[in-house]
């Protein structure tokens, strides 16, 4: 036994010494995440939802909000692989929950404990977690995206950042209505929840508004991925399955509101040579500029994307906190008017969209003016449809 011990000890020593020896030449060229020069005036922590940075959708949009805040207000993002650094006014840090997302609350706590002044939860799944943590840390301000609390239950240090997804979806629905050749279109939602129904209803309304053929029953196919939050948003195979089934039933354009699951839709669109509409970020642009051959191929099948400017919301709240030193507990809504939602128009889909762009922009103006009220629930959609007539 003694022999075994000696061998282990000697091995450990040799290895450690060897490491120190060859490591020394490399020390110093790494800026350690632990060192920061100068105290930042504001510390902002963000917890992404499942999928994290690099989901080419929802979380990435929030990340761009951080980058914008860093640029405009002079801040840096801690431990960021891209080394975003424009000054020391604001320190920003983001974390990602592990698979399944059961530790969202612990990550929020970790940021609150460590002196972050503003902590943002990206996604409705943070609803309960934010409420719990906000009660424990009354001096920290929290913000939640896509969810809110009933007025008598609203913690005094939480701001809700909501979007009028139906308005942006209305525009991409109109684009689908103009572009469809089979007069059949599809929709894939991550989960059957009121939030995702806002996307769906707006899309249907926009399509029906511009194309009477789509007012017929069965012309718009809709499906949801899963009733399990762990499955709904990051399940490309299931997304592909649903998309192929809708294409096979005659749809030639499908819009998704399913986060990472949407990658499956794009694969299906490429395979079946049909059209897809992205969501949250400008997914067509992101994929078209990817270094992967397959991504660029898929991008050619994305007409446009419904932009949900999570970045605008994130930037707005950081700026407000930075300017005033505090934010009131309130609900902020971002619609077309606030430039919080929209549709993607870029160098890659320009040719496709140019013929209909004037009409779409006219619709946009009508929504901003209040001439069109976009439905957000099934009941409102029925009324909207009744007004349109067959």
């Amino acid at each position: 036994m003694k022999k075994v011990f000696t061998i282990i000890t000697v091995l450990a020593l040799v290895l450690t010494l060897g490491l120190v020896g060859c490591g020394q030449s490399q020390t110093g060229n790494q800026n350690s995440g632990s060192q920061t020069s100068g105290e930042p005036k504001l510390k902002v922590g963000v917890v992404f939802d499942i999928g994290g940075r690099g989901d080419k959708s929802f979380n990435d949009s929030a990340y761009r909000g951080l980058v914008k805040a860093a640029k405009e207000l002079g801040g840096y993002i801690k431990d960021d692989p891209d080394n975003v650094n424009y000054g020391t006014n604001i320190e920003m840090k983001y974390m990602e929950p592990k698979q399944g997302g059961s530790d969202r609350e612990q990550l929020l706590r970790k940021l609150a404990e460590n002196g972050y002044d503003l902590v943002i939860g990206v996604g409705f799944a943070f609803t309960d977690a934010i409420k719990n943590v906000a009660n424990d840390f009354p001096d920290v301000h929290f913000a939640i995206i896509d969810s809110c609390y009933s007025p008598d239950d609203h913690p005094a240090n939480v701001t809700c950042l909501l979007f009028k997804e139906q308005e942006g979806s209305f525009l991409v629905g109109a684009i689908a209505g103009y572009k469809t050749e089979t007069n059949k279109i599809g929709f894939i939602g991550g989960m059957d929840i009121p939030l995702i129904r806002k996307f769906m209803v707006g899309y249907e309304a926009g399509a029906m508004y511009v194309n009477p053929e789509l007012r017929k029953d069965g012309a718009i196919m809709t499906a949801f991925v899963s009733d399990d939050p762990g499955q709904a948003w990051n399940n490309p195979p299931k997304g592909k399955e649903i998309a192929i089934s809708q294409y096979d039933q005659g749809a030639d354009i499908i819009y998704h509101a399913a986060g990472g699951t949407g990658m499956g839709l794009f694969e299906a669109a490429l395979e079946k040579d049909k059209w897809a509409i992205g969501v949250d970020s400008d997914q067509g642009l992101i994929l078209a500029t990817s270094d992967q051959e397959k991504d660029r191929e898929m991008a050619k099948h994305i007409i446009t994307s419904m932009l949900k400017r999570v970045d605008t919301a994130v930037y707005t709240i950081i700026k407000e906190m930075y300017d005033n030193g505090k934010v009131e507990a309130k609900v902020m809504e971002f619609g077309l008017k606030e430039n919080g939602v929209g549709y993607a128009y870029n160098d890659y889909n320009k040719e496709l969209l140019d013929p209909i762009k004037p009409q779409v922009d006219e619709l946009k103006q009508k929504i901003i003016n209040g001439e069109i009220t976009v439905p957000a629930t099934d009941d409102e959609l029925q009324q909207f449809k009744a007004k349109l007539g067959q």
Binding site: T16, S102, T127
Partner: protein, 383 residues
């Protein structure tokens, strides 16, 4: 009689020898962690040393100590549940499903049948414990019966029961028990428990005379865990039933010949293992959340198997192993926070500790039995 003192020192020697495997496991894993962090931080020795300082700081900060205890609590219960079955030689890997159902049954009590007056809080807590145990035992009953009557292997049945448990919980949460209010949270969950049932924070119970900050999730369930571990310790080492289990687990044939009814003992061990497993996640359900959802922390049952393994199926060992896991998780969050090291690194290390320990303990067991044989032979020679 004059042999007694000698025997005692030998026992102490064996106790020390039994510590070799865990220590070797931890040391080698620490080494591996060193390399991993070095890899992640692109060869920066100073960052790697800083990472180890971060881990060390985890042990000196009060709030982190609180987190370690809070995270160890469900793991210790889970480890005890697994250990009881393992001692009897049955491999109950159904603790995962048993805690889902235990929590569910206790939640049904809490929502619909609990006493609403806050004066009866303690009664409610006792009922919650009893119903959670009932639920867990019920879920272990089917594999136990199949094992006893037909000899169906418990690994197959319990792992199937885990799947059924999760789906059952999902059905109840989305179906009959659903408490989701439109316009509020969209997470699937039951109605909130009445305040007379939800566990109080230890911080509030001790009116601030409590070493950890208020936000640390330590609840009355810590008492439940402590009492449970104490009782199991007594049962295992000081009762006939504990002895029967021990005998059956170590040598089934010898046990049979000395009149231990093997099937009955295994059946009981399964049921009690399930009953205890029902208690695993009371901390999260009745403390942290205050409602039931199938989206609670999963995997605690499987972690408990590892805890039991590292703790040698001994209640005290289980507690120590659970604390080790609690430390690794807490340190993992600190590493993720300070250095951006992925949290899953810690899961990897935990797995590595287990493998090294198992190898080391097999080697040690051989060595120990060799020593014992020598001792017996020399003892015989003395006489």
């Amino acid at each position: 009689m004059n042999k007694l003192p000698k025997k005692k020192t030998n026992n102490f020697k064996y106790f020390l020898l039994s510590l070799v495997a865990p220590v070797v496991g931890i040391v080698i894993s620490a080494l591996l962690l060193f390399f991993l962090i070095l890899l992640i931080r692109k060869g920066s020795i100073s960052d790697t040393l800083y990472a180890f300082r971060v881990m060390g700081k985890t042990l000196t900060s009060t709030k982190d100590l609180g987190y370690i205890i809070a995270r160890a609590e469900p793991l210790a219960i889970s480890g005890i549940a697994a250990a009881i079955a393992f001692r009897a030689g049955v491999f109950n890997i159904g603790t995962e499903g048993q805690y889902y159902i235990g929590g569910l049954v206790a939640s049904i009590y809490a929502i619909y049948f609990s006493i609403k007056s806050p004066a009866f809080h303690w009664l409610n807590v006792i009922f919650v414990v009893l119903f959670a145990m009932l639920g867990g035992a019920l879920w272990a009953l089917i594999p136990a019966i199949l094992k006893m009557k037909k000899g169906v292997h418990e690994v197959i049945t319990t792992i199937m029961m885990n799947q059924i448990a999760y789906t059952t919980a999902k059905y109840f949460v989305n179906g009959p028990l659903s408490g989701v209010k439109v316009g509020e949270s969209l997470e699937p969950k039951t109605l909130d428990f009445p305040p007379s049932v939800t566990f109080h924070k230890l911080y509030d119970i001790f009116h601030g005379h409590f070493p950890f900050p208020k936000y640390i999730p330590l609840y009355e369930s810590l008492f439940i865990a402590a009492i449970l571990i104490f009782i199991v310790y007594i049962i295992i080492f000081y009762t006939n039933w504990g002895f029967e289990i021990e005998m059956l687990g170590t040598n089934p044939n010898a046990a049979k010949y000395s009149g231990v009814p093997p099937r009955l003992v295994v059946f009981n061990a399964m049921l009690w293992s399930g009953a205890i497993a029902g208690l695993i996640n009371l901390q999260e359900i009745f403390g942290i959340k205050g409602y039931y959802t199938h989206h609670m922390t999963s995997g605690l049952g499987f972690d408990g198997i590892a805890v039991a393994l590292i703790g040698y199926n001994n209640p005290i060992g289980v507690v120590l192993a659970a604390l080790l896991f609690g430390f690794l998780r807490t340190a993992g969050y600190n590493l993720q926070f300070e250095l951006g090291i992925p949290n899953s690194t810690m899961d990897l290390i935990t797995g590595f500790i287990i493998i090294v320990m198992v190898i080391a303990s097999v080697a040690m067991n051989r060595y120990i039995s060799k020593l014992r044989r020598k001792e017996v032979l020399s003892g015989a020679g003395d006489r």
